[in-house]
Each structure stands twice: as C-alpha cells, then as structure tokens.
Amino acid sequence: MAQITYRQAISDALWEEMERDERVFIMGQEVGVWGGTYAVTRGFYDHFGEKRVRDTPISEMVIAGAGTGAAMAGLRPVAELMTINFAFLALDAIVNHAAKVRYMFGGQMTVPLVIRTTTGGGRQLGATHSHSPEAIFAHFPGLIVVAPASPYDAKGLLKAAIRDDNPVLFVEHSTLYQLRGEVPEEDYTVPLGTSDVKREGDDVTLVAYSKMTQVALNAAEELAKEGISAEVVDLRTLRPLDMGPVLDSFRKTNRCVVVEEGWALYGVAAEIAARIQEESFDWMDAPVKRVSQADVPLPYSRELEQSALPDVENVVAAVREVL
C-alpha cells in the first residue's frame, strides 16, 4: 500500500468525488486560484474550472449559508472555512440552518453539505487562531462532526461525508497535514459514526480524536516500555458518537484516560467520562481521567503555548494516576 500524507489523502478524496459526481463542487476562500491555504486543492481550479472550484469573498456567513441553500436545492457542496476559528462567524448558518432545516420543516429538506475546516493549536498563531472547539459543534443534533487522525481515515471519512445526505462538519488538524500513512489505491469509504481501536492493549483505555489520537498512540508506545499495555480508541466522529468500542475496551481494562486538545470544561472528554460512568459503572476501577488544554486562551510564545497543550508526558502521567 502507498504511503501518502494526510493532505494528499484529503486532496485525493475531493478529486475523486468531484470526478465521480458532477454535483460536487468546492467553494471557499482561496480554494481556487491560490490552490487552498493548506494546498489541499492545488491543481483543482485548472482541472475542474471556476464553476466547480469557486473562490469566495471573506464572508463566512454566506459561505456556510449558501452552501446550505445549494445543498437544499440538489447540489453537493464542499464549502471550506479556512479555519474553525472563523466558523464562529458562520455558527448561525451551521447550527440554525444546515443542522435544523430538515427537522424543522418535517423532513422535506435534505442538506448534503460538507463544511471542511482546520482545527488545533501549536503553531504560535495566538489566542484567536488556535481553537479546538469541536465540542461546540458536536452539541447540535442534526449535524455530523468528523475529525480524522490518520491519512486512511481522512480519505475514507471525507468520501463518506460527501456521499452522505446529512450536513457534515469535517475537521482536519492543521498540524497533521504532513503525517504519512498507508492508503489503498482503490476506492473505499470509512463509515461515519464509527469509533476505531487504533492499538490494542489490556491495562488502560486511551480515548482521543484528531491529533490527540497520535499523541495517545505515542503515549502508548512510551507506556509499553514500562510494561503497561494501553488500548487506544479513536472516536473519528464526534456526532453521532459511537461508544461501542470505548465501552468494550473499558470493560476489559477498567481504567480510562480521555485526551482532548480543547478545554476540559463541558468538553468531549467530559462527555466520554459521563457515558462511561452511566453505562459501565460496574466495571470502574478508577475515576476516568481527562487530559486537556490548560484553561487559558492560547498564548503566542512557543514554550508557553506548548506547555498549555496536552502532550505524551501529560498522558503518561494521567495513566499512572488511574493505574
């Protein structure tokens, strides 16, 4: 199997889906002539033309809103918001319209929309450009929220998202684009709403998503050196949330650490911990531990920023606490 980057995997998924279905098109800031601010859509404009690769003004409300409208009327837009930090400007269009029109109008409307965006800190971009707010979006019924951690999942999940008839927020991590991994040549999808065991183990369950899955895998590697066997469950999709593999793993290990790049308060890890105690209380040998971002806006200074983000050391320390 070929080793390709997370960036290439996403780019290939988009390209192949656009070749497959004329109704699929891309709209967003700098997706066309520029080739995408993360170079995901390089070459698309020349190949597919300006009808299907549409540069927009810096207007997040209408990017998300017009994407929703175009999807309601039968197209399959992939709307791009340059970063999830800018998605706050589009929050109303996403949660009040994309996520609600189907239910609100009694099932008459279908919104096969994908909104691609990037998340995460660690690039010294300061407080407003470094959010990891997936939990906010995952709060709303009607929306699907996907956040892949590997090239294989990124490609398969994006293809599934484009083919799905529901609105999907597809969250890529801005520091994973260079990550390489095996991706098959042939067409495949990864089903939305499925968690995945990324590494098997017996002593403790590590639950994570997006970049934190990679951090958890690295932590598991460290723990193995000490003879601690950690199982890593990657959520992949935050809504709908597939607790099956998490609970199966927990009922085997009886201990859990959840790793989340965003803040702990009201976050994804809080949800996982709540579900474990509700649904697997009899299997608990220790409190579920959360590892998350320091409860501050992210600072610019490299050392300070890195100290605020969850890393392998934090995860290893948390595992020691629950063992």
Partner: protein, 327 residues
C-alpha cells in the same frame, strides 16, 4: 371571463383569504390553540400576492418569519397550513415548524425563517443551484427592512452580485424592525440605496397596490431572466397589527396606523376591480363567502387532525441516521 380577469379575481381571493386566515389565527392564538410567536401579515397582503403572482412554478420563494401570507399566495394547502399553526401531524411541516416555519418544497416554497437575515444566504445558495444546473428558476427572497442591517444581508447581496445569481431581493419596508423605526435603525432612508452598494439595480414600489407590485416584479424578473444577475425591490408597506401578538405598540401613534389603514390594500383592489368592471359587487361578495367556507373547513381539518407522536419526536433529525452500535 378572460384569463386576465380570472387572474385578477384570483389575486383578490388570495388577499381576502390571507386577511381571514390572519384574523382567525389571532382568534385561535387568544384561545391558546396556536402557541409560540405569531406575526400577522395584515396590511402587507399586496406585497406577497403581487410578487408571487408574477412567478412561474419553476421559480422559488423563501421568506422570513412573517410567512403565512406568502405561503398562501404560493398556493400551499390551506388545511395543512392551519394544521401547522395548531401543531398537528398533518401540518405542512408536520407540526415541527409552527407559524414561523411554513414550507412546501413541492411548490418550491422553501420556508419561513426566524433568524433575521438567516435565509438570505440560503436564497443565494438556491440561486446558485439554479445557475449551476442551468435551470430556469429565479429565487424570490422576501425580507423585512430590519434584515438590511444585518451581516447576512451584505454578504448575501455581494456574493449574488459577484456570481450574477438569479435572485430577486424583495424588501418589505413596513417602517419598523420590531418597534424601532427605520430612520432610527438604518443609516439610509431608502433600502434601495443599500442595493446600490453592490451594483444591484433597484426600484421602489407602492406596496399597498397589488398591481403595482406585480408589474414591478415582472420587470425585475425580466431583468434577471435575461441573465443580468440579481435585482432588488423595495415595497413600501405597513403592518396594521403589532410586530407579534402581545406587542404593546408604544412606538407608533394611533393616528399613523389609521392613516395607513385608509390605504388598505384589499379595499383599494376591491374598488379597482369594481371601477374597471372586472367584477361586480355580487361576484366579490361571492369570493368572500367562498373564502369563509374554505377557512371554516381548514379550521375543522386542523381541529380533527392528530397530534404528532413520540415517534415523530425523533424522526427527521438525520437522513438515514448512521447506525451506532450499542456496547
């Protein structure tokens, strides 16, 4: 009767029907049979009926939360509309939308939306789909004067103009955004001035004159259908009732309301039809009687309709909800 006469009479019937529907809704609201917010269209009937009567079936309509009149004008089923008002399973939105969220996609009526300006980018997107698929439809997007001050308005008009999309932006300037007068909320007096900022041709029309609205809409549609991109209309109108039920109306004087009421769009049109000998007094009376019968039937239908079930509560959140395995 000629086609023209038949259409004029049908427009009259629709205006009267909207008025009766709204009066009945006010009554049902007072009785507690309609809940939530209720925004009546009384006084503005000429705008919705005039504009929508200029459309074809291929065209699209989308609007804000004062949406009953436009829904009726677009020919949505009266019984299903009343059932929606009373939250029944047989409603146009299966009882999940209510007064502010009436839609019938089979009639290209994409709904009422209750976030001010929130439907404008949807209109842009529907128009994009028309253009992309090379379909003939134009999107008629109604909005209130209040929505011209929100970011959605500016982003949507700009993008529609940049992409030459087939949208007719129609502002119903009823002089107040809730209780705040236009001059206290908008830096410019005429909404058309805002269209100029995006190079969109614009016109103002007397929104109390249904034929003037229809003619202005036809002109606007001709411009759009010729491939010239969006057009902007401002209809000057007035709502005779409060913003919603329970509006104390401290922001306007009774004299002002009375003055506008003298300009009743239905009264005007009634007189016009008699003067131009389109119809006789007897024929117009017959229209009123027929409307009363239709309304009585709609109310009866709504009353006898079943409530949505607990099963309905969880239906239609997603299309084919991805199956999540239980542990």
């Amino acid at each position: 009767m000629s086609d023209d006469k038949a259409q004029l009479l049908e427009m009259y019937r629709t205006m009267v029907l909207i008025r009766r529907f709204e009066e009945k809704c006010a009554e049902l609201y007072a009785q507690g049979d309609i809940g939530g917010f209720l925004h009546l269209y009384i006084g503005q009937e000429a705008v919705g009926v005039g504009a929508i009567s200029a459309l074809t079936e291929d065209d699209h309509v989308i609007t804000a939360y004062r949406d009953h009149g436009q829904a009726i004008a677009r020919g949505l089923d009266l019984n299903a509309l009343m059932a929606e008002m009373t939250g029944k399973a047989t409603g146009v939105s299966k009882g999940k939308g209510g007064s502010m969220h009436l839609a019938d996609v089979s009639k290209n009526f994409w709904g009422g939306y209750a976030i001010v300006g929130g439907h404008l980018p949807l209109a842009t997107g529907i128009a994009l789909a028309e253009q992309y698929e090379e379909r003939p439809g134009v999107v008629l997007c109604f909005m209130g004067d209040g929505s011209t001050n929100i970011g959605y308005f500016h982003e949507s008009l700009n993008l529609a103009a940049v992409w030459d999309l087939p949208v007719l932006w129609l502002v119903e300037n009823n002089q107040y955004g809730m209780g705040t007068a236009v001059r206290r909320a908008s830096a410019v007096e005429h909404m058309t001035q805002k269209a100029a900022g995006y190079g969109i041709p614009a016109a103002q029309v007397d929104g109390m004159d249904v034929l003037a609205v229809k003619a202005a809409t036809e002109e606007a549609l001709a411009h759009i259908r010729a491939g010239n991109g969006p057009y902007f209309l401002e209809a000057l109108t007035y709502r005779f009732r409060g913003h919603s039920m329970g509006d104390p109306e401290r922001y306007r004087q009774p004299e002002e309301i009375e003055q506008w009421q003298e300009d009743d769009p239905i009264g005007h049109f009634h007189n016009h039809l008699l003067k131009e000998k389109v119809a006789t007094e007897k024929q117009l009376d017959a229209v009123q009687l027929q409307v009363d019968e239709d309304m009585a039937e709609a109310v009866r239908f709504a009353e006898e309709s079943p409530l949505p079930t607990q099963e309905d509560l969880y239906a239609d959140v997603y299309v084919d909800t991805p199956v999540v395995k239980e542990a």
